[in-house]
Point group: C2
Chain length 239, copies 2
């Protein structure tokens, strides 16, 4: 069984990568994970730059809240506290829902057991951190390390494939900063304000503003502060 999970995972992952429709992705993942007890799925794009972690839900399926009903996207977002836990996660984690004195509680666990819903949450990271996640749930799930690794492979491929299919291709922009852009960003990192940089360089403040916008786009940063951290990391500006 464990050997089958590992052997087959690569084929499944490749199949997902080459899937031509979201439906094909769903079917492939569903078929692969069903033998391990997973019959609930949610796949979404995410970002750490906003408090609402979930940007877009690509796929949600199954009775997630054990109330006999398949859940819709909005309900899932509002009710599942495990989603929020992704902000602190560095790797996939199992969670379990227990019925305690204070009502239902979700906990991160190593080995989910007992009645109720359990799940595996798999964050997908990219160059700028969190990009998305997949969550798989069930009542009697195989939570072995092999299955965890296999599902991580498959889920990551599913996320990337879904994103490829569903997100409009963004016109490629070079991520390489021009010399002028580096210069402007270095001044910002030195504590200068836009107006002062403009005066120093003999530009309009609007130009400095536009350079910074361009810089953020190139680096995929939400804020200029983030852009500085990224640029330092890449060696574009000095620490």
């Amino acid at each position: 069984m464990t050997s089958a999970a590992g052997d087959n995972a690569f084929n499944v992952t490749l199949a997902v990568e080459h899937a031509g429709t979201l439906t094909a992705i769903e079917e492939t993942v569903r078929a692969y994970s069903a033998p391990f007890g997973y019959d609930r799925f949610v796949l979404f794009s995410a970002t750490a730059a906003r408090d609402e972690v979930v940007e877009r839900i690509y796929w949600v399926e199954g009775d997630w809240f054990d109330d006999g009903e398949c859940v819709d996207a909005d309900t899932y977002i509002r009710r599942c506290p495990m989603t929020h836990h992704i902000l602190e996660a560095k790797e996939p984690f199992f969670w379990t829902k227990t019925q305690g004195k204070k009502g239902e509680q979700y906990r991160v666990v190593r080995a989910p057991r007992g009645d109720g819903i359990h799940g595996l949450q798999i964050p997908v990271f990219g160059p700028l951190g969190l990009e998305g996640a997949m969550s798989l749930g069930g009542e009697r799930i195989n939570a072995s390390s092999t299955v965890r690794l296999a599902l991580t492979l498959v889920a990551t491929a599913a996320f990337c494939a879904a994103r490829r299919l569903l997100e409009a291709p963004v016109a490629e922009m070079s991520s390489q900063l021009s010399n002028r852009e580096k210069e402007v960003l270095a001044w910002i990192a030195a504590g200068r304000r836009q107006a002062d940089i403009a005066a120093t360089l003999g530009l309009s403040q609007r130009t400095v503003e536009n350079h910074l916008r361009r810089i953020r786009q190139r680096l995929g940063a939400t804020t200029t502060a983030q852009a500085i951290r990224i640029a330092v990391h890449r060696g574009d500006i000095e620490r």
Copy 2:
């Protein structure tokens, strides 16, 4: 002569460090540099965070513009373009003023020669970059490497001593960030806005704002962007 410059420099530097008044600093520096042809002086605190480099002039003396008059502080600031060059300087540099077709021009040179005023500009750097500078000028100056090094020693000590004497002591605040402060700054560096961080941490936005102010004070930063660069450099947050 060169050996005398080097041997005596340390004594002079120590004397400057222990000087009890700005007058004593001036007298010591003046006496030391006169044999090398320097008879014009300006000592000032500076910052790279503003386009007006000069923050405060501690000492200005001599006929800086060769018009037979000792210059006052405001005139020096307005007329000397070499001051601005400090923003790009990483080390002390000699400059010379030439009379060209377009009027008088200042140039950075390795060996000042010819008629007119020459000088040595010595930036003083600290943990956050440029903190001040001293400029020494004359018409026939000794621009040897030994004198340059010696004067750098003395001038740096002069700047620090003058600052100690003239700037009001600021109540010492620990520069060590608290855990909460590090946490808040890490979120900023990850691209989160203050309002979002507040929601994530369960605080008021005003509290986040206050943490950031505290962070900037501790790190001696003018802007939050600068604080991020400093914190990355110090290892307080991850790159």
